[in-house]
């Protein structure tokens, strides 16, 4: 991974956190970590911890998995969430989530690691 010089630990590296990058030059937010802003090319976008709040953009419940490790979890719901910080991310979520639902993230074990897991936000 090509993290900037102030790389924060997140779930992709085993920590219970969702991290995104914010470009000081153009204000763009990006989820996939890079050493530059993919919109304007400015170096070293600032790393920030996301609140874990967002809205469901899309869902697909996986019933046919491809490995023994993932098969142990079926059915599991893959979701795309539009975070309140303005970037989109893929995660797991409750099976009853619908598009448009307001959600909050926690972390759940999946195939030997921790992954972000969304449930309906308590209103």
């Amino acid at each position: 991974m090509s993290g900037g010089k102030h790389a924060l630990a997140d779930w992709t590296t085993g920590a219970e956190a969702i991290v995104y990058q914010s470009c000081a030059a153009c204000g763009a937010k990006q989820y996939f970590r890079r050493s530059f802003c993919a919109v304007c090319g400015a170096p070293d976008p600032e790393e920030m911890r996301a609140s874990g709040e967002g809205k469901v953009y899309a869902t697909s419940q996986v019933v046919r998995a491809a490995t023994p490790e993932t098969r142990a979890h079926i059915p599991y719901n893959i979701v795309l969430v539009d975070t309140s910080e303005g970037f989109r991310m893929m995660a797991h979520g409750d099976n009853d989530l619908a598009i448009g639902d307001k959600v909050t993230a926690r972390f759940a074990p999946f195939a030997g690691r921790l992954v972000p897991y969304f449930a309906k936000a308590k209103s």
Binding site: S60, A66, L80, M90
Partner: protein, 378 residues
């Protein structure tokens, strides 16, 4: 100018014991002979990739195996859009005098050469290695996500999607080379095993063995010429997480550019060959390309619009969904069928007028798009 001068296609399904190179060779020999050429006249080779037999130089491996010493050769990788991307490149290569006869070839023993799990796993790698793949998505799940959103925004139902599977199967019934020959109904699709909701087994193309090839030449070699009128691409993202809004996907951009490059309008099109890895892929692409209004493609299927005897015959060989999907060759079968239709050689599948055809391919998760117009000249 460039012409598709010959096509070759094997049956799709099980080719027990056939390697990637054998399937490629079989299809290549058919295409070269269909073009009325000798293999020594082929001076360019473009090939796809094989997940069963990955190689960093597949085109040269194939050239040596097949017995050709081309002046130009390499592989191309654009997922499901590879076949049309190679055709587009071949078109430009012959137009710019780099080569005279380019062989475009692909084949893979994807069904019998590896386990289904291995295929699903290999294909899931189009996902992001850090931010997507660890979540255990599959290709059907990537498209299931897109389907859920498309259904939400445009009021499309699972029954609507099922219509596309039924149509492709109906078409496959009349092609002896198709992988599936049992008729199915909307109820069958709805009752099939869930894979990645809302997609069920019959919403998904199968894994197949097979090979496909064609020759792209500077001049036509037969009486009826099938000419590349114009083509274009669009690439908006790789990963579904980074995909733009549904209204900004690449199919609309690619078809806009292809229309401009060719001077052809959708109203001129008489035959359509559209990528159909999943029922949702076909539904969305038909609407993105302007072959149906938003949310209206399924109604057009029901009314017979896309049937063999309809206004816009579509994938008359059965498409990926029912002819089969052997990787890069999968969508090349669409072009082979288009060529047979345009040259009046489709037998019991022949449509009345395939004078102008629109082809469209999609790679990744609606990531890479190629649109192409072919025209019959006599």
């Amino acid at each position: 100018m460039s012409f598709i001068t010959g096509v070759g296609l094997t049956a799709y399904g099980r080719h027990e014991g056939s390697s990637t190179l054998e399937l490629m060779s079989k299809a290549a020999a058919l295409a070269i002979s269909d073009a009325g050429l000798k293999r020594s006249e082929i001076d360019g080779i473009l090939c796809g990739y094989s997940t069963v037999a990955p190689h960093i130089m597949l085109a040269t491996v194939f050239a040596e195996h097949f017995g050709i010493r081309p002046a130009y050769a390499h592989a191309v990788q654009v997922g499901g859009a590879t076949g049309l991307a190679m055709t587009m490149l071949a078109h430009h290569l012959v137009e710019s005098n780099v080569a005279r006869h380019v062989l475009v070839v692909s084949g893979e023993n994807r069904l019998t050469g590896q386990s289904r799990d291995a295929t699903i796993l290999a294909l899931a790698q189009v996902g992001h290695p850090d931010y997507e793949v660890p979540l255990g998505p599959t290709i059907p799940a990537y498209y299931g996500l897109v389907a859920s959103r498309y259904m939400h925004e445009y009021g499309v139902t699972e029954e609507d999607l099922a219509e596309f599977a039924v149509l492709m199967r109906k078409h496959a019934l009349t092609h002896p080379g198709a992988q599936f020959h049992d008729p199915i109904t909307v109820a069958d699709v709805m009752a099939s095993k869930p894979v990645a909701l809302p997609l069920k087994l019959l919403d998904c193309c199968p894994v197949s063995d097979g090979g496909a090839a064609f020759v792209v030449s500077r001049e036509r070699t037969g009486e009826t010429g099938v000419r590349v009128r114009g083509c274009a691409q669009a690439h908006t993202h790789q990963h579904v997480t980074a995909a733009p809004a549904l209204s900004e996907l690449g199919a609309e951009i690619a078809i806009g550019r292809a229309k401009q490059a060719s001077g052809v309008a959708i109203a001129d099109v008489r035959y359509a060959a559209v990528y159909d890895s999943f029922t949702i892929t076909l539904a969305m692409l038909l609407e993105d390309l302007g072959l149906a209004g938003r949310g209206e493609a399924a109604a057009r299927v029901r009314s017979g619009y896309f049937s063999r005897d309809g206004v816009m015959p579509l994938n008359t060989h059965g498409g990926l969904l029912s002819y089969g999907h052997c990787g890069v060759g999968g969508a090349m079968a669409h072009l082979v069928e288009t060529h047979l239709q345009m040259t009046g050689r489709a037998g019991n599948r022949q449509v009345p007028d395939a004078s102008i055809a629109l082809l469209h391919g999609d790679g990744g998760v609606l990531s890479s798009h190629v649109s192409m117009f072919l025209e019959r000249v006599r």
